[in-house]
Subunit: 247 residues, 2 copies
């Protein structure tokens, strides 16, 4: 654009309808868009401002600091998790739905994972989710500190599983190749080190893991773990029938 078309004289006043042109919700929303498409490193205040058609520092009127913005974004996507009402289904199903929903959210927004270890999440959406989780688990018969232990156990499994899965997914995406291709290239490297890690190498050969679809493994591993956890909880619950509370 030639500069004389963009001078003080030609430039018309920005459309001021009396409504502020920026809002906290809009900022958080586009920040999430940016994070989803570009990753955590792709979000800077300047880039965010540019995408919103405003100066970078204007954002600071609506948001105290970038860390605060990230906290808002995390809480926002936490709200996407559906936690079933108690009583609709058996408790195992309810917990499974919650866990799978949380996992799906974390894989949709992988940047959340890197933030979970930095600040505790206590936004309204997280609180609402916790409240529904309490309802679900207490309807299942859990009380006292056992209830919170169960909640922690479920979320820990989701977070832990999603963490390693997201790490691999990010590496695959960075390389720009398919997962199968990468494993193919990794093969000679593993072959070479086979004698340093004999048990691991033997397992790789015997298990036939090299012929499985890598995309399905994550789902299966997560489901397997969740079933074991629910089995373990059922077992514990039957041993503490009536009042399922822990010391």
């Amino acid at each position: 654009m030639p500069e004389f078309t963009d001078s003080v004289w030609t430039r018309q006043a920005r459309p001021r309808t009396g409504q502020p042109t920026l809002s906290r919700e809009q900022i958080v929303r586009t920040a999430i868009e940016l994070l989803d498409t570009e990753g955590a490193a792709g979000l800077s205040m300047r880039r965010l401002g540019a995408r919103l058609g405003s100066g970078a520092t204007s954002l600071y009127w609506h948001v105290a600091t970038k860390d605060d913005l990230l906290e808002l974004a995390v809480d926002q996507v936490m709200g996407e998790i559906y936690v079933p009402e108690p009583g609709d289904t058996p408790w195992r199903v309810g917990v499974s739905v919650m866990a799978n929903g949380m996992r799906a959210m974390l894989l949709r927004h992988p940047w959340v994972i890197g933030l979970l270890g930095v600040r505790p999440t206590i936004g309204p959406n997280v609180m609402r989710m916790s409240n529904r989780s309490v309802a679900l688990l207490s309807a299942a018969g859990f009380t006292g500190s056992a209830l919170s232990h169960v909640h922690s156990l479920i979320t820990a499994h989701v977070i832990g599983a999603a963490t390693t899965e997201a790490a691999v997914a990010a590496a695959v995406q960075r390389s720009g190749q398919s997962a199968a291709k990468i494993r193919e290239q990794l093969e000679p490297f593993l072959e070479e080190n086979a004698r340093d890690y004999p048990d691991y190498a033997r397992w790789r050969q015997e298990s036939g893991v090299t012929e499985l679809d890598p995309d399905q493994i994550w789902d299966q591993s997560f489901a397997f773990g969740l079933e074991r956890i629910l089995d373990g909880l059922d077992l514990w619950r039957s041993g503490h029938a009536g009042s399922a509370s822990a010391a």
Copy 2:
């Protein structure tokens, strides 16, 4: 320092012993020190160089990029995890030792947690750990993809639990107050929102969770979850006696 004492003429040659003054191991070691004491945000190449008594850019001779350095640091601390030899103890004990050791490491080096979701960890120390874990679990009777599912399940529990614990610990440390004090200050805030989260509020009141020692809760929660997982695995194993392999 007046400039005439630091001219080309007075400046004596740096002590060159023939040995390089910097080494990759030393760089990684002090980087870990810096990360432990100052957190992830406290590590910059310039600060690291200063602590090593050398220029920031000198580090780039030994390390390609900061991300590479972080990867080296992560693998290094992963080597601190002790995985028992199979046969020394019952498999549940062996797995418990590994899980608790990994948790202790993550709490010693909380900055690791934020990096786990970014890049997959495939350094030599992680490989050695994986190898020993395979040995431990196959001695326990797990084979095929079930073995890797079990390994993932254990590590996911450790990572997930440590993630939320580290987040709270970091927030507590930032505030410079004791955990009990913080919860005391948080009380009216929770009281106020009690009607928005009725189930949660009721549970808080009935469970008496407010009178527990917050430092012990994490340990108990982790141990509870681990026991449930091991129970679930035992149950599954007994149903697949002989060849404990999954589809």
